[in-house]
């Protein structure tokens, strides 16, 4: 199994500064994590190497806790190897982990936007 997790940390500090409706903040940030996990899942699927389609179909996401999602490939023994080595289709290398790396800036922007919108309430 190859998996990556998307987790939001530093929430206690944020809630301390947020004097109203912390439940709403948690709900909004959970949505941001879920949205970004879905984008990672979709991009990883599109980037994954395809021969029979097994690897592509195996890529999924699931919530592990509030603001914590996992994107993974399950029951495909070569999923990890193909993330790091692929001489036949080198453009697919990093289909999962590079996608996570590239998503970080968008993730930060989405968090900032969510907090900004909540402040307007």
């Amino acid at each position: 199994m190859l998996d990556i997790t998307l987790k939001l940390e530093g929430l206690d500090e944020l809630i301390e500064k947020w004097d109203k409706r912390p439940e709403l903040l948690i709900k909004a940030l959970d949505f941001v994590v879920k949205k970004n996990a879905e984008e990672i899942r979709a991009k990883a699927k599109a980037r994954a190497p395809v021969l029979t389609g097994t690897l592509r179909r195996s890529i999924d996401k699931e919530p592990l806790a509030t603001m914590l999602y996992a994107v993974f490939s399950d029951n495909v023994p070569y999923a990890r190897l193909r993330n790091y080595v692929n001489n036949l289709h080198p453009e697919t290398v990093g289909y999962l982990t590079k996608t996570l790396f590239e998503q970080r800036e968008q993730f930060m922007r989405d968090i900032e936007e969510a907090v900004r919108e909540l402040k307007k309430l």
């Binding site: 990890r80 190897l81 790091y84 982990t97 790396f101």
Partner: protein, 138 residues
């Protein structure tokens, strides 16, 4: 710019005890022709697009180091860890050419080790990959 950060990583890795050598990745590199144990440094960040000093400092570099140990030895487990520990040290990176050459420091924000195939008993066969996220600073 691409060579300088990657070369600094190669130079640091070459000091790891027991490693026969470290190489820069290229699609033409014949891994079977190398003497084990060896390491290959590869960037997944397109550094050719980073042309200014400011861009170089603003970028986070996503880099892999493949570690290929000698099969069936304890080194198969220890080598990736030794490389990882070495990379936690600060690296000096030169950017540009004289007279505009500048020297920066770089440090990893994150380093993880993964077995290439994820199967316990195949570790020696495929080796490991060390994932680093580097940042250059003044």
């Amino acid at each position: 710019m691409k060579i300088n950060l990657l070369q600094a990583i190669v130079d640091a890795i070459e000091d790891v005890t027991g490693l026969s050598g470290a190489l820069l990745y290229s699609p033409e590199l014949d891994l079977n022709a190398q003497t084990k144990p060896f390491a290959v440094v590869r960037s997944l960040t397109d550094m050719e697009k980073i042309v200014t000093f400011d861009e170089a400092k603003e970028t986070e570099y996503y880099i892999w180091i493949y570690a290929y140990p000698i099969a069936n030895e304890y080194q198969a487990i220890s080598l990736p860890e030794d490389i990882k520990n070495t990379l936690f040290s600060e690296l000096t990176v030169t950017i540009g050419e004289e007279p505009n050459q500048k020297t920066y420091k770089s440090k990893p924000l994150d380093i993880t080790v993964n077995r290439l195939n994820g199967m316990d008993n195949d570790l020696e066969k495929y080796g490991s990959v060390i994932t680093c996220i580097y940042k250059i600073y003044s």
